[in-house]
Amino acid sequence: MRAIDIIAGKAYPLGRPNIDTDVIIPAHHLKTITREGLGQFAFETLRAEPGNVFDDPAYAGAPILIAGDNYGCGSSREHAAWAMADMGLQAVIAPSFSDIHAGNAFKNGILTVVLPQDQVDRLLAVAKDQPITIDLENQTVTTPYQDRFRFEIDPFRKDCLLRGLDEIGITMAMDDAIATHEAKMHAETPWIEGAARAA
């Protein structure tokens, strides 16, 4: 996974709440068996609206999206994160995210930044004509004006994003601890293993 540190540039000032993953990538585009190529279909239903931010040349190629609360709600489809990454998004700023989507975004190197609504509103206003800078190491979002908003992030996720680590590789190195749990399960709750396959 690509390491990220500073993300700076234009931001799509979307600002709408409850952007669900069906809106990010409709189900009829889920029939792929690869991770690439979904960017062209991202936000298809919003892009059907005249004057939408995604087709506004002022924001073309923006690495940041600013949305309303509950971003990424609904379906667990990771295709939403793949589509966002494929269209060049590196970060989303919103007052809140769906748990599943935030996890999917993280696993695809997309930073999710949670800020209070008033700060998001301020960034939406600034982003109309100015760039936004996200500094992951220092956990801040800044603008060319005096704005400096601090955000919280899970330390493990921060470390993985800064170093571009492969989470599966990290967990596989913990094989002993996993085997210990399996031995306990085998002894104390044997039906869990024994019953999974039909007799």
Binding site: P17, H28, K31, I33, C73, S75, D154, E182, W191, I192
Partner: protein
């Protein structure tokens, strides 16, 4: 002197029992007991394993079932030969699962098997889902399995790959939410109405960061299938999982299921399952209560599952909303839905009916719909009325009870099991501009097909809408 352990919620008990390693930063590596795999969210995960030369750690705890893409029309010819799937992309995903499952040693319940169905219907009815287990699937409606007292939640494809490789997930503990519904449900009020009432009360984002536990007399009295409907829609309120403490109903439901524990294992399992209830003094981070008597038969009017109104109500007026963002969203919803503020819900005519999905495709759902359809006929204005059983076993049971005849005689179509018209990934779609009364879980823009308009409601209400051709108060059919 031994200290008294702190009281814990059911969620905390299940979580604690599966911690492989607790990290200082508050996250934990959690062991996964059950992994359901379907064709849409797994191909990239299997490719990732193959590319890294990794194996599936516990194929014996993994079960694969195709459901999202699969057509619900006949799947085999008279000789039992598999019919080709017309959409080449759907066929490619189904073929990928058919190729990957044996390659990685995973059991596959494929399209022609009698046990095939929607993963969230198959898991419980096979006894694959058990109380106190952790259940994951690359599908957000994995919350359903909480109805049996299992911690079930949806994951993305990278997490599917992580579970396949390690049988674990790295997770942060969720906060706990008690949703208590006490009292008597009124006539015509079903588990689906309870689910919609909860989503409306919490809002679509209200449960984010929480695992819900459903408590109170309504859930104690509710059947396992009803609990599955309620837990299924936890995610529509943002809660990644929903739980009901296992009880005698749960054990009776599971006893004798194909994969349930047998003999001495069964007795030992039940003794353990009886410990799986929240301690009396356990503290939830948030508590929401609903009086059962206040829940009416419900229907959605907009494009978010919390856009809920009583069937006797009217389309709400966006101008009444204070928050400008919410007002704008509501205006867009109404424009998309082709509805006007103040319009009576019961005057809204429908083009299609869908009875099915992981929310409402079990035998009790089909019985409830059939009770309304019996001796009546689908209205002339309705272009299509689909009944799609959740699994081959549900279909067989319904046919043994003669429900298929009731539906067919009334002008409904009787289909093969699958996700069908819930999500527009297979040939069952709602065309642009058409309106569907649907027992599924999501009314999002374009969910049932580009431009489709969805009204979520209960199976009985869907059957009533089929008969009258408009959204209808099922109590008129009592």
């Amino acid at each position: 002197m031994a200290s008294t352990p702190a009281p814990r919620t059911l969620y905390q008990k299940i979580f604690d029992a599966h911690v492989v390693e607790q990290r200082d930063d508050g996250t934990a590596l959690l062991y996964i007991d059950r992994h359901l795999v379907h064709e849409v969210t797994s191909p990239q995960a299997f490719d990732g394993l193959a590319a890294a030369g990794r194996k599936v750690r516990r194929p014996d705890l993994t079960l694969a079932v195709p459901d999202h893409n699969i057509p619900t029309t006949a799947r085999a010819d008279a000789q039992g030969n598999r019919l080709a799937v017309a959409d080449p992309q759907s066929a490619a995903q189904l073929d990928a699962l058919r190729r990957n499952a044996p390659l990685f040693g995973i059991e596959l319940i494929d399209d022609l098997a009698a046990e095939q169905g929607i993963v969230h219907v198959v898991g419980p009815e096979q006894g694959f889902t058990l109380p106190g287990t952790t259940v994951v699937c690359g599908d957000s409606h994995t919350a359903s399995h909480g109805a049996l007292g299992a911690l079930g939640f949806g994951i993305g494809t990278s997490e599917v790959e992580h579970v396949l490789a390690t049988q674990t997930l790295l997770l942060k503990r969720s906060k706990s939410l008690e949703v208590r519904v006490d009292g008597e449900l009124g006539p015509g009020v079903t588990p689906k109405d309870v689910a919609l009432a909860i989503v409306a009360k919490l809002t679509a984002a209200g449960g984010a960061g929480y695992v819900a536990e459903y408590t109170g007399s309504v859930f104690r009295d509710m059947s396992i299938e009803g609990r599955l409907t309620v837990c299924n829609m936890s995610i529509e309120a943002g809660a990644r999982a929903g739980l009901v403490a296992p009880d005698d109903k749960t054990f009776a439901y599971l006893q004798g299921k194909p994969r349930s524990p047998k003999g001495a294992d069964w007795d030992r399992a039940v003794a353990y399952w009886r410990t799986l209830a929240s301690d009396p003094r356990a503290v939830y981070d948030k508590v929401v209560t609903i009086d059962a008597a206040t829940i009416a038969p419900l229907v959605t009017w907009g494009t978010s599952p919390d856009d809920v109104v009583a069937i006797t109500g009217i389309v709400p007026d966006p101008a009444a909303l204070d928050d400008p963002a919410r007002r704008a969203a509501a205006e867009k919803s109404l424009a998309y839905m082709g509805l006007t503020a103040g319009q009576r819900m019961q005057d809204v005519t429908v083009d299609r009916i869908f009875i099915g999905s992981c929310t409402n495709s079990r035998i009790e759902d089909l019985r409830a719909a059939a009770a309304v359809a019996r001796g009546r006929h689908v209205a002339a204005g309705v272009k299509q009325a689909l009944v799609v059983p959740g699994s081959g076993l549900v279909k067989r049971q319904a046919e043994a009870e003669g429900l298929d005849r009731i539906f067919l005689d009334a002008g409904f179509e009787w289909r093969e099991p699958g996700c069908s018209m819930c999500l527009a990934m297979n040939p069952d779609k709602v065309p642009a501009g058409e309106r569907c009364a649907s027992t599924s879980n999501r009314n999002f823009v374009g969910r049932q097909g580009p431009g489709s308009r969805t009204h979520l409601l209960s199976p009985a209400m869907a059957a009533a809408a089929a008969v009258t051709g408009r959204l209808t108060d099922v109590r008129e059919f009592a």
